[in-house]
Every structure is written in structure tokens, then in C-alpha cells.
């Protein structure tokens, strides 16, 4: 019997389960114990031990019969954005207080169909709007990493902050995340784990609470690249219930991890060098370039000229879509309804319900979205942003057409920052996504891989961006980078 079951990777646990060295019930109980001891991290916001143990028992039976997919018996955490049948699913918003879906999202249904175990629901920014997990109705999720012996609480990033914190702290073997502007990759980088956002359309969005439908994608957050490959494969696939899900075969991503990237061309975009970027990020990036070159790839300087317009375009398109998607929270069909005063009609009900139920950042984005879509401004803001989006995508198409296989960039402009520090100016918080948001606008796959620590001992990550639908090739390049970087650091347990 292994001593530290929760620190197993998915691949290790899969192999141990199949050999009969451990049972899913043992793995699951170890995780549930770790979760109960980690309330200080604020990662798990709804614990589901009964569901977990039931699924674990079934998984053990299934493994015995020899019919065991890779994820059979693997305990996972699920971001609160995913609707899970009969289990609270409220997108970390007070407006969905008490909501228990009568249905299961396609992605979680595929995971559970493969035998995965749900330990509970994970903290996040409200409606996935945020980069620090500070907009959650449940309170902050905390990064298990600290600056040396300094006990200042740091953000795990956002919006998938609970997922990142839980995986980094070994509370679960992997977690689902979603990524609209960097919400998988930025928290992964802040917590020393791996996170991939696949090509738009790879994973069904059905049953995932919608933020910005043309940008949202689900993806796995895991302890290494192999685990990301295993979990991504189980999450992907065509779904008739999501008209934007792609009807393409899903390859065996894990089988594509050879680590051989000889002859690949890696683009280094000059626009990703930013004024005021810490020299540690600069160094990390140049180390990453050297590692890929040593592994046999060719580096090429490239230009993605519209990069600087990605964030402003995003902050038109995402709020516009959010204002439309969030119109459904009206206090009629589910969730919170405000107490009404004598004589209040339906308009007062809508207005009071939404003022009480939505937090400040969500209100701000819904109203900005309303403004940019309103008569007289639609062309000036929304249509212009969509045209700029076309140009941003074309930047990538041009470099891919010139033979670039993948693009290497920093994942974030800094290491994890202090909680409570970036509240004064929303625009300052938006800058967290400067390296990741282009990928959502262009619909491309992007992966964040931990490759080093900063001077204070905090993890830093690099991002690789791939061609559409070539997640397998992208994962293989990430695997080569991971092997060269040899990142094995873990946060020391203080919680």
C-alpha cells in the first residue's frame, strides 16, 4: 500500500489500479481526508463524499472485470461552472444559490462514464469573470504556494482558482477547468501545474454555465502533461447538443507523447516582450527557448502584429456575450429571487434580483456588454472588436502557413500575487490575461507548463500555442519542454 496516495499522478494511479496495488475506494478516501484537512485553501466549496464513494465502488468493480478506461477510479475535482446532476452548481454566484441541476454537463457525463470519481465542486471567480478567484460568492481560494517563509496569502489565479489550488495541493488527482481568456492557463502557471485549453469546439459546452460562448472552452488541469493528455481525451468529442462542437475524431493523445520534437519550428513572437515585464519572466522564456532548441526544434522570430489589441477586443466581445448569456438570471426559473416590496412589479423583481445576486465585477461586465451592444454603439464597439478579432486570428494563420508548428510565450506577466491587492482598477486586473487571451480570440489550443521558480520560490509557467485541432502535437511539444525543464517542486504543506 502506497503511503501518499493523493500525490499520485493520474497515469500512476491508473497503472496501480489496474495492477490491483490500490483500490479506487482507498484513493478516494485518501483524497476526501486531504480535502477535509484543507479547508484553509478554500478550494472545494461543495464536497460530495457520498457520490465519490459510490462512484469509487462501481469503479473498483469495473476494474475487476477488466473493462477499465484510463480514468476509471480516478478521483477528480469539478469546477463549479459545470452542471452536475443533483449537486449544487452555482458558478460561484449568489444568483444561483440553491440551484441543483436536473441534468449533467456533457463533459462531466463523459468523465463519469469513463469511471472517474467526483470529489466535489471547486471554487472559481463568479461566472468565471476574474483572474484571482476573488469575485467568488464562496470567498477566496488560496494558493498552496507561499513566498518562502512569508505567510502572505497569494492568489491561485482565476477563474479556475479552486481547480488549480486543489491539484497543486494534492487534494485530487486532476480537475476540470474552463478557459475564456486564460482561466485554465493562468492559474495553472500560478500553482506549478499543467493546464490545456483545447481548440474551440473540441469539448462540448453543453451544461457548462455560459460566460462568453464564442470563447469558452473546457479543459483539464493536472499534475503533468501526460495526465493532461489522458484527461483531455476523455473530455473531448462531438456532442449534438452543442452546435459548435466539432465532429472530428479524438486521437489517443497520450500515445502521441514521444518527446521527439526534432525538426519542429517554434515561433517566438516579438510582441510578447512587454515593457515592465519582470526579468525573471524574460529569463524563464529564454530558458524555454533554449530547452526546445536543445531538443532539436528550430526557433523562428515571428510577428503577431495585432497582439496589443487582443485585450481591448476581448473586453468588448466577452462582456457583450456575457450580457446576453446572463440575461437568463431573472429570478423566475432558478436560483435567487429578491424579496419584493408592496407594489413591486416584474421589472422591480428583475432589477432587485440581479442587483442582489450578481457581484460587482459581474454587474460591471454585464453593463459594459449592454452598453457596447446598445443602439448607436454596436458598430463602433462590438462590430469593430469582431473585425479586430478576425485580424488577430489572421496573424496566427499567417505564421502557421509559414511553417510554424507551435508558438512559445510566457504564460503570465508575473508570479502569483497577493490577494486583495489588485482591486482598485479593473483594467489592471485584466492585464493578467495579456499572453493568454489571444488564444481564445483565435480559437487555438494553448497549454501552460511549469518550468521554473522565481527568486521567492513561486512557480512560473510557459505557454505553448498550437495549430487548430492539433492538440496531440501541442501536447508532445509541451512534453518535451516538461522533460527538459524537470520541474518537480511542490508547495510545502502549511494548511
Amino acid at each position: 500500500m502506497m503511503t501518499d496516495l493523493t500525490s499520485l499522478k493520474i497515469s500512476e494511479a491508473r497503472d496501480a489500479l489496474r495492477k490491483g496495488e490500490v483500490t479506487s475506494v482507498e484513493l478516494t478516501e485518501a483524497c476526501l481526508k486531504a480535502i477535509d484537512a484543507a479547508d484553509a485553501l478554500g478550494a472545494f466549496v461543495h464536497k460530495t463524499p457520498e457520490v465519490a464513494l459510490g462512484q469509487a465502488k462501481s469503479a473498483d468493480d469495473r476494474i475487476k472485470t477488466g473493462d477499465a478506461p484510463d480514468l476509471c477510479g480516478i478521483p477528480l475535482g469539478i469546477k463549479d461552472l459545470f452542471c452536475t446532476k443533483g449537486v449544487p452548481s452555482q458558478a460561484a454566484s449568489a444568483i444561483l444559490d440553491g440551484f441543483r441541476p436536473e441534468y449533467e454537463s456533457t463533459v462531466t457525463s463523459q468523465l463519469f462514464g469513463a469511471g472517474a470519481v467526483m470529489l466535489g465542486k471547486l471554487n472559481m471567480d463568479e461566472f468565471a469573470m476574474g483572474s484571482s478567484n476573488e469575485t467568488s460568492t464562496y470567498g477566496n481560494a488560496i494558493n498552496p504556494w507561499r513566498r518562502g517563509n512569508d505567510d502572505t496569502a497569494l492568489t491561485p489565479g482565476g477563474s479556475s482558482g479552486g481547480s488549480a489550488s486543489a491539484v497543486a495541493a494534492d487534494l485530487c488527482l486532476g480537475a476540470t477547468g474552463t478557459d475564456t481568456g486564460g482561466s485554465i492557463r493562468q492559474p495553472a502557471a500560478f500553482t506549478g501545474i499543467t493546464g490545456i485549453k483545447p481548440t474551440y469546439g473540441r469539448c462540448s459546452r453543453w451544461g457548462i454555465v455560459a460566460f462568453a460562448s464564442s470563447l469558452d472552452q473546457a479543459g483539464p488541469m493536472t499534475k503533468d502533461v501526460r495526465d493532461a493528455a489522458i484527461m483531455l481525451e476523455a473530455m473531448c468529442g462531438h456532442d449534438p447538443k452543442d452546435s459548435t462542437s466539432a465532429d472530428l475524431a479524438v486521437p489517443n493523445f497520450e500515445a502521441m507523447l514521444t518527446g521527439d520534437i526534432r525538426g519542429k519550428t517554434i515561433g517566438i513572437p516579438r510582441e510578447y516582450t512587454m515593457d515592465g515585464m519582470p526579468d525573471e519572466i524574460e529569463t524563464l522564456w529564454s530558458e524555454g527557448r533554449r530547452m526546445l532548441q536543445d531538443a532539436g526544434a528550430t526557433l523562428r522570430d515571428i510577428s503577431l502584429p495585432h497582439t496589443k489589441y487582443a485585450l481591448p477586443a476581448y473586453y468588448v466581445i466577452a462582456p457583450a456575450e456575457a450580457s446576453s448569456n446572463l440575461a437568463r438570471y431573472d429570478g423566475v426559473r432558478y436560483g435567487h429571487r429578491a424579496k419584493l416590496a408592496q407594489g413591486d412589479g416584474i421589472t422591480e423583481m428583475y432589477e432587485k434580483t440581479r442587483a442582489e445576486g450578481f457581484g460587482p465585477e459581474v454587474q460591471r461586465r454585464v453593463m459594459v456588454g449592454t452598453y457596447v451592444l446598445s443602439a448607436g454603439f454596436y458598430d463602433a464597439y462590438y462590430n469593430r472588436a469582431r473585425k479586430v478579432r478576425t485580424l488577430i486570428k489572421k496573424d496566427f494563420e499567417d505564421v502557421f502557413a509559414q511553417g510554424v508548428d507551435a508558438i512559445l510565450t510566457p504564460a503570465t506577466p508575473s508570479a502569483a500575487f497577493e490577494l486583495g491587492k489588485q482591486h482598485s482598477d479593473p483594467v489592471e486586473m485584466y492585464l493578467n490575461d495579456v499572453f493568454t487571451v489571444t488564444v481564445n480570440l483565435a480559437g487555438l489550443p494553448g497549454i501552460s507548463v511549469p518550468t521554473g521558480l522565481d527568486r521567492q520560490g513561486l512557480p512560473l509557467g510557459l505557454q505553448l500555442i498550437g495549430r487548430p485541432w492539433e492538440e496531440g502535437d501541442l501536447l508532445n511539444t509541451a512534453y518535451a519542454l516538461e522533460q527538459a525543464a524537470g520541474f518537480v517542486a511542490k508547495p510545502s504543506q502549511w494548511w
Binding site: 436536473e102 412589479g345 423583481m349 450578481f358 483594467v427
Partner: protein
């Protein structure tokens, strides 16, 4: 671009979010900051560029126009804050 208090109030009304009068000046200022950030887009030459409709070119699938689901009134109403006699209940809409 600077957003005045009347515009902020109008946007809040359109979004059906109650904002108290004393909160409007700060809200207008926030809008102004965010829209100031967005104004950078005016630097881009978008002449002749098509606005993006779908990030990955794909043809929407068609299916037979038939009933595929239904008969679950209880489930539909299960999460409603106020459901009565098989309906969602809301305050009086028409005088």
C-alpha cells in the same frame, strides 16, 4: 470617452440591474475607464475586414425537425423560486 451619470443610469436600466443613485457617479467613472481602454481599437485599420462570426469555420449540423425531449414539467420547475400549479409564478405583469 467619458460616460455621464445619465448614461450609466440608462445602461443599468437596460441591463435590469438596480443601481442606487448615490452609486451612479462611481459606476460612470468605471465605465469611462474601461471604455477608455477599449478605445485603443480605434487605432486599428479595419477597412474591408469582415467581423468574425465563427472562430472555426464549420457548417452547422442539421437534424430532423422533430420532438426529441419533453414531458418533464416537474424537473423544469424543480429549481423555480416560486412555482404554482405547474407554472412559474411572477408578480403581476399586466394591470
Amino acid at each position: 470617452m467619458s460616460i455621464d451619470i445619465e448614461t450609466a443610469a440608462r445602461v443599468a436600466k437596460l441591463a435590469r440591474i438596480r443601481v442606487e443613485d448615490d452609486a451612479l457617479p462611481a459606476l460612470a467613472q468605471e465605465f469611462s475607464n474601461i471604455l477608455g481602454f477599449i478605445e485603443q481599437l480605434n487605432e486599428v485599420d479595419v477597412e474591408g475586414v469582415e467581423p468574425m462570426v465563427s472562430v472555426e469555420p464549420m457548417r452547422l449540423k442539421r437534424r430532423q425537425d422533430g420532438v426529441t425531449d419533453g414531458g418533464m414539467q416537474d424537473k423544469v420547475l424543480a429549481n423555480a423560486p416560486d412555482a404554482r400549479e405547474g407554472f412559474f409564478a411572477v408578480p403581476k405583469v399586466v394591470e
